[in-house]
């Protein structure tokens, strides 16, 4: 490691709840974190029903089991902090505050979807909430995240980009090129490797050469790295906060590998989801390592919420998800003429540049 910030030293590894960034959380904040994790889980459970009923098309990559990663990291974001992720993107979208309505409608390809039905499950966007997608090609978003960080530094803003990726993406060349550039130009980017242990059906030991962990490869570029336990919201926040501070104060990158687990297959269409790993393994994670249940237990133990209050909150979020499902079903499909919208900014905005020459061909 090339630098250790003060905050890092301050963390007691035995109890991340005592980290400064977590001690400052009010009861309301803690309940808010639970609400965001519940929103992700309930939203996705409804979307899974849609998928199984054939109401939606394409792929559906579920985030269930990984909720603490998105919620913990995104809860740290300030006005000039931005995020970008890959195709398992519902969790990040909901955590930045996107509505279930626009997200559900997008799954169904409706005009009311966040991308007007043009992106689908893998391509959610909300630039107004500093959320830059939602990207379908493994590792393809890693240079984009670097670019967001470059823009922040260029403009002299004290900000950071959390660029999320899966453990499968660490073997893409674009990621390594990005690490080199991030270190070379001291860019405020945090690569968050959400290590759910399987790149589709291939285990880490069959896909990635490493000494101890994936983040350690950052050593080769002189980038500070860390690992975090993704089932513990406090730990995720404490370690991500260190990375954020490094970006804000020193304009330096970090690679943060967060150990996590997905309960469903790579996508719902993953026919081998229970073949490349045992049902017992999945059950073990659900029973003992579920970030949501563990956070609920924390809140009860800390006296922040009662079990009844949690159930009540959960019911209200189920209602939100069911209402979003109805909203999506009731929404209209986009009109055929919208196929040619959102291709060129200059055409959409009817500018002079958008009106010279022909932009679209065929009939």
């Amino acid at each position: 490691m090339i630098s250790v910030t003060e905050e890092e030293v301050a963390i007691d590894p035995a109890d991340y709840a005592q980290a400064k960034i977590n001690k400052s959380l009010s009861s309301k904040d803690k309940i808010g974190l639970l609400r965001e994790m519940l929103r992700i889980r309930r939203f996705e459970q409804v979307s899974l029903k849609f998928y199984n009923q054939g109401v939606m098309g394409g792929f559906l990559h579920l985030y269930i089991g990984q909720e603490a990663v998105a919620v913990g990291t995104i809860s740290l974001m300030g006005d000039n902090d931005h995020i970008i992720t890959a195709y398992r993107d519902h969790g990040h979208a909901l955590a930045v505050g996107m509505s279930m309505n626009e997200c559900m409608a997008e799954l169904l390809g409706k005009a009311t979807g966040c991308s007007r039905g043009k992106g689908g499950s893998m391509h959610y966007f909300a630039p107004d909430k500093n959320y830059w997608g939602g990207h379908g090609i493994v590792g393809g978003q890693t240079p984009l995240g670097l670019g967001l960080a470059y823009a922040l530094k260029y403009k002299g803003l004290k900000g950071c980009c959390f660029c999320y990726m899966g453990d499968g993406a660490v073997n893409q060349g674009a990621y390594h090129e990005s690490l080199n550039l991030a270190a070379l130009w001291k860019l405020p980017v945090v690569y968050v490797i959400e290590n759910n242990k399987y790149s589709m059906g291939t285990t880490i030991d069959r896909s990635s050469a490493m000494r101890n962990c994936l983040a350690e490869r950052a050593d080769g570029y002189g980038i500070v790295w860390d690992i975090a336990n993704g089932e513990d919201l406090y730990e995720v926040r404490a370690k991500a906060h260190n990375a954020l501070e490094r970006a804000h104060k020193h304009s330096l990158p970090t690679v943060l590998e967060i150990d996590t687990y997905r309960y469903y297959g790579h996508s719902v269409a993953d026919a081998n989801a229970k073949k490349y790993r045992s049902p017992e393994e999945i059950e073990r994670y659900k029973a003992h390592h579920d970030p949501l249940r563990l956070w609920e237990k924390r809140l009860v133990d800390e006296g922040v919420m009662t079990v009844e209050e949690i159930e009540k909150l959960d019911e209200s979020i189920k209602d939100e998800a069911n209402a979003a499902a109805q909203f999506a079903l009731d929404s209209e499909f986009p009109a055929p003429e919208t196929i040619f919208e959102d291709v060129y900014w200059e055409v959409d905005n009817n500018t002079e540049s958008g009106s010279t020459g022909r932009h679209f061909f065929g009939d």
Binding site: G119, F125, G147, L184, R358
Partner: protein, 324 residues
């Protein structure tokens, strides 16, 4: 009017846009301290410093993708590819990210990025360094592509490309960098999607883009001198958007067309133009549309053969005479 090189015209366009807009930044391999592999960015680093002119390591996917990401937040990066042939290692960033992110976000995002560099054969560097990917780029809705043939056009189109709010790919030509044309001192911008008649004629139309325009002009001189035939030369300048009106107008005027195109013939730019002419101007034609493209094999190294692999004035003259 001052005579300046194609290279200097682009250099002037870049300098003027750096001064005009604080968000314009030049990024690429050897663009700063080395002054550019082809000296297009000569002197810019000295004038504008580290922030505005940035040397990138050899990581096209990384730095082009970085430029795309920065453009989403309002930076206007002008990315140099030492050769457009090197774009192939950055293809995902150019096609999927620069080209599709606006659409997939339902119009929430735009990428005001320029990707520029030479895209031509004819310099004895073999197949991997001689690609002409304007047809690939033009095949991707969301991207724009321009191919200037003269210094005047290179400057005006480059300025339009930098000011455009969509991703624009500017394909230059190393064989033209040292050629000179008249370029006024006064500021001007050439809109994308507006073709230009480089030579008036009445008997036949040559339609071309990039250096093929120069080839077509030479062929036109030969036809005039040796056969008394007046060929019109239409320079497309911009492939997408495309000035279809100008194409149809020259076809209606001369009724005979030879398309001159340094692309390979299969699915090249001229394939699209030919299809468009037969769909929309069939009745105006007095003869089948002819094409002169690069010969359909990878770019050969051997200097003697490479000269004839690219369209030559003689091949254009030959095709023209067949339909006159």
């Amino acid at each position: 009017m001052p005579q300046i090189t194609y290279r200097k015209a682009i250099n002037d366009a870049l300098a003027e846009e750096i001064i005009r807009d604080e968000n314009v930044v030049i990024i690429g391999e050897e663009v700063a301290r080395y002054n550019g592999a082809y000296k297009v960015t000569e002197g810019l680093w000295e004038r504008f410093g580290d922030k505005r002119v940035v040397d990138a390591p050899i990581s096209e996917a990384g730095f082009i993708g970085m430029g795309v990401g920065a453009s989403m937040l309002g930076i206007r990066p002008v990315m140099e590819l030492m050769f457009w042939s090197f774009a192939y290692v950055a293809w995902d960033q150019i096609i999927n990210n620069a080209g599709q992110v606006r659409y997939m976000s339902g119009g929430l995002i735009n990428c005001p990025i320029v990707i520029r560099g030479p895209a031509n054969g004819g310099t004895n560097v073999g197949a991997t360094h001689s690609h002409t990917p304007e047809n690939f780029i033009a095949n991707t809705p969301g991207l724009k592509v321009v191919c200037p043939a003269t210094a005047y056009d290179a400057k005006g189109l480059m300025k339009a490309a930098i000011r455009d709010n969509d991703p624009v790919c500017v394909m230059e030509n190393t064989l033209l960098y040292g050629e000179t044309w008249e370029v006024p001192d006064e500021e001007y911008v050439i809109p994308l999607g507006v073709a230009d008649i480089k030579r008036e004629g009445t008997d036949i139309s040559f339609i071309a883009h990039g250096r093929a325009v120069i080839t077509a002009l030479k062929a036109a001189e030969i036809l005039a001198a040796e056969h008394g035939i007046q060929a019109e030369v239409l320079d497309l300048r911009s492939i997408r958007p495309l000035d279809e009106e100008a194409i149809l107008k020259t076809v209606a005027k001369t009724h005979r067309v030879v398309l001159v195109d340094e692309n390979k013939p299969f699915c090249g730019v001229s394939s699209q133009i030919a299809a468009m002419i037969q769909e929309q101007a069939f009745d105006d034609l007095d003869a089948p549309v002819q094409r002169v493209c690069s010969l359909d094999a990878p770019a050969i190294y051997s200097p003697a053969l490479e000269k004839i692999q690219l369209p030559t004035p003689d091949r254009v003259v030959y095709k023209a005479l067949q339909i006159l």
